[in-house]
């Protein structure tokens, strides 16, 4: 194989220049275009203490009760609690420039000398999902409740729909950047008995900060709906790419699987299980790196949980049989995901009947197509196993067991974590221009948002 060194180096040079600029562009949806911006250098060498696993939300809210807390307050509280695992800040998602509710927000003091010169250059550049340069952003998403309102955005087309809401592309009226807003109908959430899951979704999103996880900028609610402002991840769903490709070549599947593995490792380190891994929930950023989205079932679970949730094809047997389960279910789902990426279909699918899928899951027989690489089969058989004493990721070695599996042998994990490995596919989009061409079209919502009226469910969603 010819060396890719030259190519890689060239691209990286480019990345590190443009990205660091992009990074430094503040991109709060409500920040004016020329806002000052945080600069990461000051923070990047600090070590950040691990937040307590228990109720970090409480800590955040008490430190930053509302959006008017800014500047010193904001910063001092924030410094203590980003980088939850003390990772180098280069791990941090670049997206994460502060979305403060204020034009003069909490980071400006850190080194404005640097910032000022950059502002002139980059004011129009859209933040990106890249983090090669290492975006450090400290406290910003910690004040996310009630942060924005409908008036801050102009609503554009629908990017996706779900059982109780939809996701819109939106543009900030302040900085003209693009974001995605997930709108959930409260009545529907209540009817579907998903109050707890919805509050968990918001809480978990607020806690996580990782290059391969979607960033939540803020939330609010009105009498009928909940709103969550998140990154607009331009490359669309991995699902669409997979269906167009039918199946991925081994190295392509490996690349995506590896990024998911790092994200799962991060979540599990925070005692968060994700519970809804599938290609539909994996987005591609403009450079082709993954972002896991939809935390609708994510939950902090130190020991065991009971609720049956997920997607039928991806449910682990311990979920189907209602035994109580834990993080092990995400590793099972990773196995199903890898299988689907390599084969184009899921291993337990059966004539469209969920009952048959569940029977197959409990039976546990997987037929591996002959074209699968033996290493892939070996890994899959150790992920898609009902025996919890054999399932990789759940064992003594933890996620390392997965990462050290021969199928992942070529993966340099630290480089991958820095997004220092080029994605195998770069979505054909015009970055920063609200290009939603990679998303399927959906019928648009008929009911106007932001209507008044009695808010009978508001008290159920105290965190929004």
């Amino acid at each position: 194989m010819p060396s890719l060194g030259g190519l890689l180096k060239k691209r990286r040079t480019k990345d590190s220049q443009t990205l660091s600029k992009e990074l430094e562009a503040g991109s709060s949806p409500t920040a004016a275009q020329t806002q000052t911006s945080p600069n990461q250098h000051h923070h990047s060498h600090q070590s950040h203490p691990t937040p307590t696993a228990t109720s970090p939300d409480a800590a955040y809210t008490s430190a930053q009760p509302h959006q008017s807390s800014h500047d010193h307050h904001n910063h001092s509280s924030g410094t203590n609690r980003s980088h939850p695992e003390g990772q180098p800040s280069s791990m941090q998602s670049a997206v994460t420039q502060s979305p403060s509710a204020h034009n003069h927000h909490g980071h400006t003091h850190s080194n404005s000398h640097n910032v000022a010169s950059i502002q002139n250059i980059i004011h129009s550049s859209q933040q990106s999902g890249q983090s090669v340069g290492g975006g450090s952003h400290q406290s910003q998403t910690r004040t996310t409740k009630g942060k924005y309102s409908l008036e801050d955005f102009s609503l554009q087309r629908t990017l996706g729909t779900g059982s109780f809401g939809r996701v819109h592309l939106v543009q900030s009226k302040h900085n003209h950047r693009f974001y995605a807003i997930k709108v959930l109908k409260k009545a529907q959430v209540v009817k579907m008995k998903q109050i707890e899951h919805t509050n968990d979704e918001r809480r978990m999103l607020n806690r996580v900060r990782h290059p391969f996880l979607i960033t939540l900028w803020g939330t609010w609610q009105d009498s009928r709906n909940l709103y969550m402002v998140m990154d607009f991840v331009e490359g669309g769903e991995l699902f669409s790419l997979l269906r167009k490709s039918q199946r991925f070549p081994n190295p392509v599947a490996k690349f995506y699987a590896a990024e998911v593995t790092l994200a799962l490792e991060y979540l599990h380190n925070h005692q968060i299980i994700y519970r809804d891994l599938k290609p539909e929930n994996l987005l591609l950023d403009r450079h082709g790196h993954l972002k896991i989205t939809d935390f609708g079932f994510a939950k902090e679970v130190p020991d065991i949980t009971w609720t049956l949730c997920g997607t039928p094809d991806y449910l682990a047997p311990e979920v189907v049989s209602s035994k109580g389960y834990n993080k092990s279910v995400d590793w099972w789902s990773l196995g199903i995901l890898i299988f689907e990426m390599l084969c184009g279909f899921t291993p337990f699918w059966d004539s469209g009947s969920p009952v048959k899928i569940y029977e197959n899951i409990l039976r546990g027989r997987v037929k591996y197509p002959p074209y699968l690489h033996p290493d892939a089969v070996d890994l899959l058989s150790q992920l898609i196993t009902a025996d919890l004493t054999k399932r990789l990721g759940n064992l003594h070695g933890g996620p390392e067991d997965v990462k050290n599996h021969p199928w992942f042998a070529e993966v340099t994990w630290d480089r991958l974590a820095r997004k220092d490995i080029d994605a195998p596919y770069v979505p054909p989009i015009r970055g920063g221009q609200g290009d939603a061409s990679q998303y399927d079209r959906y019928p648009e919502e008929q009911e106007a948002y932001g209507q008044g009226g009695e808010d009978i469910h508001g008290h159920l969603f105290p965190d929004f």
Partner: protein, 417 residues
Amino acid sequence: MAESSFSSASPHLRVGTKDDKTSTFRKIAEDEEWEVTSPTDPTFQTANSAAASSSAGNNLFGGSVFNEQQGGGIRFRRSPFADPSGDGDEDHDDFDEHPEVPRPTGALNEGFPNNYALGRRTSVSAESLNPTSAGSDSWVPPHHPKTEEQVSRLKTAVSGNFLFSHLDDDQFKTVVDALVEKPIPAKGIKVISQGDAGDYFYIVEDGHFDVYIHPSGSVQSGSDGMGSKAGSIGPGGSFGELALMYNAPRAATIVSTDTKSTLWALDRITFRRILMDSAFQRRRMYEAFLEEVPLLSSLKPYERSKIADALDAIKYPAGSTVIKEGDPGDAFYLLESGEVEAFKEGVDRPVKSYKRGDFFGELALLDDQPRAASIVAKTDVKVAKLGRDGFKRLLGPVEEIMRRAEYEQIKPKPADS
């Protein structure tokens, strides 16, 4: 959205192309302004403009893109993990790691399921249940008395059902007790309607029911609103089991056809609570038992929890041998219910007896020394078993666990194997 108009004949992604497009692609890839696929490849532009101008995104899966783009499709970069020093299979210019295996040209070969649903899959969820916050201590499952005959009929009715087949006897009995009788007093009654929220599972005690499915997914108004008849269900049959998992829309309409019939009904919350409570109690029991094992006294709670997850419950009838003296030890046991006794070769009387909560065979976690005694079930017993290998895979070598804490001293009881 995006239903499966995916053409089964659509050319697959073109990896491993040997034509001159490859070199074009390489040049482009080096051009920093072109991080997209080949500019000579209008696939996405076509797709995009089509998507933008039409009402739905179906065309992403439509034939046009693929059919017009013979040789186009998705083109991936070379392996993201290319390692100049490596010489593995994957270090070709392309991804064709098994050149001898032809790429699938359609959905029919290579084991691709027929009619595989290519659309997005909806997430499902039951209501959140939690043993502690649900106040399960005070919750008692409903008990509706049944005759022996009824019970045995019910057992037969659900024995093949995946939701019941893995239940243990206690759980099974509690579930059967919770089934409530539901008389259907007339013919033509819709027991469930397609598209409605599902909360109950039903077993037919007597009478017959017809199954109707409307292609739209829910009952429509009008005379044909239920769709066409798809089958019928008689005594011993059952329907609606998915409702025991989560609130899924009913997949069919079920209508009574006899003037009088009887159903047994079970709702999801009751079912899930029974399962959860019993699993939760068993787990608490396991964890409590494990705390009593000196060898494992230094386990952290999450480690005990992991072990508890992996314990296998096994039943032995009275008189059977659980462990045989002299066999290599490979597993450790907690006694969940019943009594067992330890016997040694050449000794008439049991050298030790065990009751609920006791454990035996734990030294097998250390090595495979021969069992020092036989363990024989005195009554019907239920044990929870964990193999040494499984233990090690979950928690690492026991020696390290023992070393890590101020573990005092193992005192193997005489009968410990």
